[in-house]
Symmetry: C2
Subunit: 106 residues, 2 copies
């Protein structure tokens, strides 16, 4: 299994993406804290966090018996850079900003 394979496989599951959303909103949470946000047993959440960590999307730090989880956005940026060059990036951000503006007006 290659590095990027691990990243994309990790992102393929909605529960794992939701975990990233939670960490994006607020970093440094424990397993137990994250577990309370999902409709799933602790074991399921732990399994998902392990997948995210092995993919490098989440980094952890131990503090006593607790394990704190942090979002690492670098692999996300690398996905971006794989298929979007500087020129296209400018076009797309312009397009997305325009779309947002139009949606706000309506």
């Amino acid at each position: 299994m290659t590095d990027d394979d691990r990243v994309f496989k990790a992102l393929a599951d909605p529960s794992r993406r939701f975990l990233l959303d939670l960490l994006f909103a607020r970093d440094g949470r424990t397993l137990t804290e994250l577990e309370s946000e999902l409709e799933m047993t602790r074991f399921g959440v732990a399994k998902h966090l392990k997948v995210l960590e092995e993919a490098g999307l989440v980094v952890t730090r131990r503090s006593g018996r607790e394990k704190l989880h942090f979002l690492n956005a670098i692999p996300i940026r690398q996905i971006h850079d794989r298929w979007i060059d500087k020129y296209t990036e400018h076009q797309i951000t312009t397009l997305i900003d325009l779309k947002r503006t139009l949606e706000e007006e309506s």
Copy 2:
């Protein structure tokens, strides 16, 4: 199945990512042309292209009996924007540029 679910599921397979790489390098190719680049039957490639198209990562245009495939990078940018805010983006691009520079020097 939600829209973003389709996108992430589509990206989870290495063959499909390779197809995006091919289209990133050169757009507007037919199924037959793409098939020749993969170690897989035409049916497999067609199936993968269908998944990419339904995810909106590839858009197509018919030309007679041929079907031309084009890369659409907008969903990729939206993945980026989901977990990388403006401030973090600046930090990360700086970090990645630095990493690239160091690798070029060594």
